[in-house]
Subunit: 206 residues, 2 copies
């Protein structure tokens, strides 16, 4: 009964799994899925092949797990939580977008959006990735659309606006801004580009 719960490293399979997932995520974020090397992931965690292949059946399933267990919750925490119960959903949306460069400016400019990176790389090549990534996109779209509908009901934005289509465009424009900043590797360029998006958001106002 004397289980040492001091999160030390005696034996903790759940934590081990998370450690692998997190390291794999960072490697994929930096090098892409195809560029990610299992050996690099293991070197960073201090674990070995045995541990990795105990928790994941192969490289592909590790990649899938990164989408489902890392990227999906990450997107939810960034978007769902701030938007779900905001008084002014449009303002909340603009707030999230504008403060994005402040969170992790260096990583965001260097490596872009983890979700978008994987979509661009893997969607055409692997249907398993495509379906999982599409699910994350659908969830994101749903929360964005809900926020817009909510804002429309509260008459913050015009009644003639197609919330479904607008949500799609906002997502696209945002990913586009982040992606464009990557070629220039400049925070200023990111902010400048995002200003165009906030202007667009303003053009929706009632």
């Amino acid at each position: 009964m004397a289980t040492s719960n001091t999160q030390r490293s005696e034996r903790n399979p759940d934590k081990t799994r998370q450690v692998i997932l997190q390291a794999a995520f960072m490697e994929i974020y930096r090098k892409g899925y195809q560029g990610m090397r299992l050996d690099s992931v293991l070197a960073e965690t201090g674990l070995t092949k045995g541990a990795l292949y105990h928790h994941f059946s192969n490289k592909q399933s590790l990649g899938y797990a990164v989408v489902e267990d890392v990227i999906q919750p990450m997107m939810a925490s960034i978007w769902e939580e701030p938007l779900i119960a905001a008084d002014d959903p449009l303002a909340a949306l603009a707030e999230v977008i504008e403060t994005l460069p402040d969170k992790k400016p260096r990583e965001l400019i260097l490596f872009g959006c983890p979700l978008n990176n994987l979509i661009q790389e893997m969607s055409p090549q692997d249907s398993g990735f495509r379906e999982r990534l599409d699910t994350v996109m659908s969830n994101w779209h749903a929360t964005t659309e809900k926020a817009l509908i909510n804002a429309q009901e509260k008459e913050f934005i015009r009644a003639d606006i197609d919330c479904h289509e607008t949500a799609t465009f906002i997502m696209a424009a945002l990913e586009g801004c982040i992606g464009l900043a990557k070629s220039a590797q400049s925070v200023d360029r990111l902010r400048s580009c995002l200003r165009g998006l906030t202007q667009y958001l303003q053009s929706l106002e009632n």
Copy 2:
């Protein structure tokens, strides 16, 4: 003196180089630079290692050449030529954007934009790629900005618009739309998303 100029395959180094470049471009377009295999390129062309390493010093320089000699001219032909001398630059811009899904719908949805793909994959990893891709982006931005300034001078769009920033946002939004369509693999979704962009363009009008 009897050089058979019937473009047959006696010996034609320039053509050989172009054949390699074109095959490499398609492989990169489909699999990414890291996913592109020299053997696949050679298999498609019917050539061998000797030919490839005679024209290019290594994989990297082949990748660089694809950016400079294939992607750069491709972007120029799509953007510069239609916009450079249009009577109504804003309408011409909207025209290019709207007709984009009609050109190569299948490839565009499956594999996205060749330029954006390479930026997202290679900019963080290889400064040689980054600089060359940034040059292409700068040229594209210059022509877009010129079109906007031209439209502003002809009073097609409002005088208070920052053409530099707006050009950046248009590029970002367009790449975003194309990228988003990839996860859904749907032409409808691309068109729907582009409608948001054309709406934005309309909001610039005088």
